[in-house]
Structures are given as C-alpha cells and as structure tokens.
Symmetry: C2
Amino acid sequence: MAARSKSVRSGNGPANSRGKPTLRTIADITGLAVTTVSRALANAPQISIDTRNRVRQVALDIGYSPDRAAQRLKTGRTNVIAVLLEPHEEILGYGTSVMAGIAKALQGTSYHLIVMPNFLNAANIDAINYIIRNSMADGLIFSRTEPLDPRVMLLSENGFPFVTHGRTELATAHAFVDYDNFTFAYEATRRLIAKGRRKLALISGPAGYTFAGHIQHGFMTAVREAGCAYEILSDIDLDSPAGAIRDRIRRRYAEKDPPDGFACGGEVCALATITGMTDCGLTLGLEYDIVAKQTSQLLGAIQPRVDTIYEDLTATGEHMGRILLRRIAGSTDINELQLLLSPELPFETQAAGAAS
Amino acid sequence: MAARSKSVRSGNGPANSRGKPTLRTIADITGLAVTTVSRALANAPQISIDTRNRVRQVALDIGYSPDRAAQRLKTGRTNVIAVLLEPHEEILGYGTSVMAGIAKALQGTSYHLIVMPNFLNAANIDAINYIIRNSMADGLIFSRTEPLDPRVMLLSENGFPFVTHGRTELATAHAFVDYDNFTFAYEATRRLIAKGRRKLALISGPAGYTFAGHIQHGFMTAVREAGCAYEILSDIDLDSPAGAIRDRIRRRYAEKDPPDGFACGGEVCALATITGMTDCGLTLGLEYDIVAKQTSQLLGAIQPRVDTIYEDLTATGEHMGRILLRRIAGSTDINELQLLLSPELPFETQAAGAAS
DNA sequence: TCGTATGATGAAAACGTTTTAAATGGACGA
DNA sequence: TCGTCCATTTAAAACGTTTTCATCATACGA
C-alpha cells in the first residue's frame, strides 16, 4: 500500500551507497516519509503509536543505527564527553580509576567517553582551546586545579560545560567534585599524634595545586592544635619518583631531629618513605609511623599494614560524570553541581553539598 | 571585486548560524566558490598557488577549522583511533602508558585517540561490534589476545583495521605488536639459576591469554635445560590482588620444599611476593631471589633493588599507533604490520620483523 | 581565424540527519 | 453543505563538507 510517489529505491534491502541502513531505508520499507521515521524513532507524540511501533520494529529487524556524524552535523551536539588526561596520572592508574567511574555514569546515556591524552604538549590550555574550537565534545572533565586555574577561566568565559576534579578560588562558581583533603590531612596527622608521634613530616602535592594547599592546611591545623614539632619535606612531593623520595628520606634522617611520623598524600610516596626508613634501619610501627592516602590496593602488599585513609577515585569519576550531564542539560544550580567528598563517608550515603 | 552572483551573505564576519567560520565564510571573503576554497585548503594542484596562499591566509586570520562532523559525514572516515581499555589495565597505569605511546604516534596526523572503556560490560566482543556498526573509528587497538581470539576473528572478517597488543594463533595473519614474553621468562629464569637458585616458581598471566602461555613456555624451557626443580604457582596470577598473592606465598612457604627463586610477570606481584616472604622472615637476595618484569618505576622504591627485565609500554603504544596508521592507509604487507619487541633491545634500534 | 588544449574556477549534488512549515483527510459543529 | 479543527503525515531546507562534472578564459598550433 501507499506507494512512494517519486524515486522509488530499487529493493528493500540496505539500499545505501555505503551499505548501512539509513532512515531512508526504513522509509522505503514502511512506505513512510523519512521525516516520519525520524520522528517515530525519536518517539515523538505526534506520530501514532502504531506507526512508532512499526518503525521501531523494522529498525530493529534491519539493524539500523543512526549515523552519529549526520546527527552531529545537524544538531551541533557531539554526544561526547572528553576527559583531559595528564602525564602525572600515569601513576597508579589514577586515570583509569576515574575513567571507570565516568564510564559508569555515562552508561545508558547516549554519551561517549573520549580521552584527550595530554601526554605530549604540556600547555594544556591549548588542548582545551582545541576542544572548544573544534567542538570535539559537549562537556569536559579534568583534574588538578589551581587556585586561579586558567583552564577554568577559559571554559567559564566560553560557557563550555565542564567539571573539575578539585576546587579553585575563582569568583565565578563552577562545577566540581573534590575530596576533602583538608580533613584527610587533619585526620591523618591526628592519627600520627594519637600513635604517640611527636615530630611529624608531611609529603604534600606539588606546589601550585589547590589540593596541595588543602593538605598543607589540614596538616598545619592539626600540628598546631597539638603543639607538636613538624616539617614539610622540601624538594619532593607526591609526584616525585619513588627513588627521589627514598633518597630524600635518607638524607633527612642523617640530619638531626628526624621525624617519627609521616603524613603521605599518596601510596607510592608512602612506599618510598618506608623504603627510605628501612634503609636507615628503622621499622614501621616501631620507630616511626605513616598515615597515607589510599587510592588503590597497592599498599595491601606491604607489611606491616600501613594506616591509610581512602579516596574513592571511581566514585569521584562517577560523580563527575553525573554532574557534567546535569550541567550539559542546562543546570546552573550550584548545589547540584558541586560536591565535596568526605574521607569518612562511603559512596552510597554521600549527599551533594556546596563547598567554600 | 568578483562579487558573488546569488545570495550574498550579509557581512564578512563569521556569518554562520552557529557563529563558527565555515568554508562558506572564506568563500564570501575571498570572492571564491566554496569548491575552490575546499580545494585550496586541501592543497589541490589544480588551484593556483596564489589562490591557495590567499585562502590559507584568510582561513588563518578568521580562525577557520573544518567541521569534523561534516567531513565525517561526507567522507565516511572518522579520523578517530579507538583503544579498548579493560579493567585489568587499571593496575599500574598500563593503559596510560600505552595510550601515551599511541598519542605520540598520532601526533601530527589528523587522527584523534578515543578510549572506549570497557570497565562495565565484560563481554567486550559487544564493544567491538558496536564500534564497527556505528563506525565509531577508523581503526582499533586492544590488548591481551587469546590464541583463538574472537575479537580478532570478528574484526578480520569485517576488514576493520586493527592492531592487537599480543599475538594469536589464528590462521589469518593480522597486525600486532607483542613483547617477546618467551624470551623474557626464559631470561628471567636463567638469571635466577645463575644466582644459584634451585627451586624456581613462576607467577604467570591469567590462563587463556596468549602471553601467559609464552611466559610459561619460556620458564619451562629454562628450568628443563637446567634440570632444576620448579613449580607454577596455582590459584594466583599477575592480576591477582596483592593480598591474595602475599597469602599464597605464605601458605606455600609453610609447605615443604618452598621455592627460593621467583619469576614474576609483573611488578605488583613481585612486590606482593617480597611481602609474603618477608612475613616468613626471609630476605630478598639472601634466602631467595626474584626476577620480575618491569613496566613502571614502582619497584624503584623497593629495597634491595629487585632484578627486573624491562617492557617499554609507551614504545609498544607508539608502535601500535604507527602500524595502525599504516594498516588504515591500506597496507597489507605483514612485514610492516607485525612487530615482536625483544626484552633486550632499546626502542630506537628496534627493527620491524615478522613473528611466528 | 578557428578549433582545441590547458589551467583555473564554479555549480550542484550528495552524505544522513533534524526541523520548519505545510499538506492531507476526516470528524465535527454550525 | 461548509468551514474549522485535530491528528497524522510529508516535502523541503538545512547542517558543512567533498566530489563530479561542467564552465570559462586564455593561449596555442594550424
């Protein structure tokens, strides 16, 4: 019935130049117009239920899937979420953990996750410019913010949806997920004090990043409250190679008044600290203690058990994904776009909440 | 001069509905036709040098960049390379190392790297089907092949360009980069024997993967040559959590004739082995030795220095990238599509070569 | 002077969608 | 009987490229 008026296609098969079925193929088979098919698949209310079902069935039968390039060209939306991965994230699969979380958040949506590895050119403001200009994605996720992060400024100015892992101190609010590194460091330091340690040392993040400041602040608050001696280990940080940290620990121990308690912002650096101390003939839990941030199962191999405080990077990724989707959908409600994860609370019971 | 005949655009600015300059914008400014502009930017020889330069200059001035969606729709090419990342690769940034290499290979080309994280659904043949059907990419890279890998079969059947990290035993040749795990294991075992160890144990990859078989084969060859006692530690493998390996080592030590030399396929598992042995009061280099495969700087933190054999994952990624580009360009010459990396040779001097 | 080769440019169609605006055909109230 | 409204469906344009096929000077050999 209802034969097409003009330019009837040869057969009913996937009569496409590239071999893949298109809307046109379905239109030919059903005798409907391309418009109707498009609408039916989009579940438009103006198309009768019967037609919608019929079209859906045919689409299923012939294995139709929409051409993303065409959709993208027409709508201007990419259906892509980009993650900016940086060199530092090589260590211990930070990237993969976070990405697993993001992927989880994107599951069931039409969004794809693409990773823009920034391994090559350190100037990552360029990468962001590139993404905006080439409209490579509908939204962006990246990490390790600075207090006055230029990337955040650029994206904000352009109204490009994004979520950061980490806070800034910029006036214009933006979407973020952050771990409460102040509380982490405060708690870690308190634990060291509770273990009877009296000369505490901190290995924090690289200077310049917001989270490094938070860690330092938490550490300082705790040592000052307790009135105990402290130091922040210079020349090294979280990202330093294990060997460098190990050497630094050894050198420090050769000087006077070496620390007997270490707050470590990461696992590798805890590991390196232990190694350095072992070099000096000292035993963890006996002559000194460590409290470290844990993001993987690495320290599970270490003995004796290192005292850790957990940061769930996969959950972080999942939150960032969800928040970004909200932002892309148009939300500007800061309360549902910002999330500060506490070290204590497990993922499930975590509630959204604003932060400074 | 040369005013456009019909439908002259309002101004000379980015008179686009979406605000971004297009070929049309350049055409209006230069007074040329869209066709000519397209050709000029593609550096077509039929366009005069003068025009080419003029067009390029204008494009630069107004910040033109081609719309990938439109190019993609028209040409059918996506300019995208996809990497299938799997859960196991979380450990120690395998994924990120490899991706850094791939990104390096893609640098300067028009290709983008996108990562399809397969964290969620273990059935990753689906992911591949999805990529093929939705033509998400022009080429694919993935790892951990099985001898009769169904993914390889599917891709081969569809003529979809891909490179695997790892070999298969399929009849139809395909592009791959692989590390010579036989030689790695053989060499590692020989080193243990040279250190005077006489009861050797192997921690290999998960059963079913091609590389696990290669490791086992290398190990067996070496122990048989030397005629020394050996065992393959059951119940655990490379991917086992550190705690599980540690426990397994402890249990094994409680039994009779414990091994005094360990060949470990990975760093975390070496670390866990050391921990387990330390639990039993044994010292590395004294009562036992380890030779492990090294893919990161993790073991640099460990003391005493663990004997390792290096696998350069970034180089692997770079090779895979280059080979995939060749394959996409149409090469079917197996000699330039297959590469077996030897443990010994540094990256620079590595030459392409066929493999079994 | 004419036809033709040559070198440069252009018009129009196509890729597969979505969207705007219009058409169709009853049903219904007057 | 006629106009109006509603529910469906459709035609056509558009998104920004690339590509096929034409056009148009100009120069050139005869």
